[in-house]
Symmetry: C2
Subunit: 288 residues, 2 copies
DNA sequence: TAGTTTAGATGATTTAAACTCATCTACAAG
DNA sequence: CTTGTAGATGAGTTTAAATCATCTAAACTA
């Protein structure tokens, strides 16, 4: 590429293209935030360099010559293609677009969005929910899944589970009385279930007095526990902020690890600086 | 066009595109006649401006990121389109390409090509023969035709005809002896015939002793006249240089105007400076 | 393995392109 | 006829682009 045309000024071509498209040096100057003088100089220099006339000058009106028309079309097409790609890249470079589960969005992302944006005033965060594979290259999907399925490098949080209750309620008598426990049954049946059995064993409980009430989103179980002064078995990730806010409390029970995790498929492919900063931030926040 | 990307340096994009396409800052520097330092600065500045990483740096090797790949494709496509158009325009700006009849090429253009190029050292002339309509925008067709068909502004020479003989031969006795006269019968039957009748009348000759020998190109008649020490009835344009070179001579006969002419269809559409200079030169040369 | 070569990174300085300012012309508008 | 305005041009200023000098670290070679 760039044989004879190596020395042709791209700035001049840009000025020419704008003037050609709008039929006016003045309007070109406005579009490019220059003076009409600059446009005039660029075009004259370009005409000398190329040894052609690109415009007819009719008093103070201009019109394109045949050569000018042909060059204008090519430069318009070429610059439009470049400009579109730049817009896409720049948009990606100044915002973080994340899609995730409703529970993660509600319990983690949305509550901490402000914190992220304050720490990164040059980046805006856009959150959506949904599980479809998004074809746009710049949307970061935070998925909930089986740790044995996700690539190690993609996992941002391995989930632990515990029982939590409304703030202020008396610790339950695990052995003596019937207990209602809210929990989750995932719509996606291929996912490992919440590790309630492992939790019972770890805490030396036989669970025969526990009545389970299941929802299809962790969010609903948590909300119901808070509303009904009850108990919920859910992830420590989702309950973390609620603990801090004294909306939920934890008892003497110990949390258990699970085979469930949050992960970002092909995490390494998100290479914009804002994506990298976001991913570093979310991973640190989840695991500190 | 040019929203957020107005301030992005096109020089930097050019450097990036070259480095991306060749996988090397060093090769990009060579292609663009810059130092590798300049390329490195351009790319770093571009990455800062766009807030993305375009290359992975692996020691002293580089490879494109996903974003880099996408931007590289768009900029390659865009710049290629621009470069192709520039090449075409610059070629047109530094050469004159003419297509014309064999006779006009042989008798006028080729003999004076050197004169034109010496007067215009920055322009090269390329001559071809043929009558097909050429779709390329920058080839100037000099056509031979009927003056009533051509646009006035397109006519570069209105033809006159006369009889010429080999240099040194005795003037013919128009009334006493049989005369062989070479002339032309155009392949294109729609053209007016050479105005022999009008010439006879203007010169007070009845022509009953003249035997015509016809060729389908004026060039052939002229050559035959010189070869056989004979007479040819042809255009003053084609014979002009031969007269000056004492290869042909004119007698006391008077030339006659004709309805034939040389013309350039859509002459005004040739707007490169070299085309304009050529057309001005040829018109002056033919009519002085 | 040690020495040499080489591609890219970085900061400082220099150069040249790009830009504005001031003034002008000539046409359009009132 | 006067005023307004788009483009042209030369001079001066500013800034982007380039080079220079030096560095690092990886690749290559003996």
């Amino acid at each position: 590429m760039w044989g004879l045309s190596l020395q042709v000024s791209l700035q001049a071509l840009k000025a020419f293209e704008s003037a050609a498209r709008q039929g006016s040096f003045k309007l070109a100057a406005e579009e490019l935030s220059l003076t009409p003088t600059a446009i005039s100089h660029h075009i004259s220099n370009l005409e000398s360099r190329l040894n052609v006339n690109l415009f007819h000058r009719l008093g103070r009106r201009i019109s394109l010559t045949g050569t000018g028309i042909r060059l204008a079309k090519a430069t318009s097409d070429g610059f439009r293609k470049i400009d579109s790609a730049l817009e896409e890249v720049m948009k990606a470079g100044s915002s973080v677009r994340v899609t995730t589960t409703s529970s993660f969005a509600a319990m983690v992302l949305i509550p901490s969005q402000h914190e992220f944006e304050q720490a990164n005033p040059d980046i805006s965060m856009e959150i959506s929910t949904g599980e479809s594979v998004d074809s746009q290259s710049y949307i970061i999907p935070i998925r909930f899944g089986d740790v044995s399925v996700a690539e190690d490098a993609d996992v941002i949080k391995s989930e632990s589970f515990n029982v939590f209750g409304t703030y202020g309620m008396a610790p339950p008598s695990w052995s003596n009385e019937p207990i209602t426990l809210f929990t989750t049954e995932w719509k996606n049946q291929s996912l490992p279930a919440p590790p309630l059995a492992a939790w019972l064993e770890k805490n030396g409980l036989d669970g025969s007095n526990i009545k389970l009430k299941k929802f299809d989103q962790e969010l609903f179980g948590i909300q119901q526990a808070m509303t009904e002064n009850g108990l919920v078995f859910c992830s420590t990730t989702l309950s973390k902020r609620l603990l801090k806010s004294n909306l939920l409390q934890q008892f003497e029970t110990r949390s258990v690890k699970s085979d469930l995790c949050y992960y970002v498929p092909n995490k390494h492919s998100f290479e914009t600086r804002s994506a990298i900063r976001f991913l570093n931030w979310i991973e640190y926040m989840l695991n500190q």
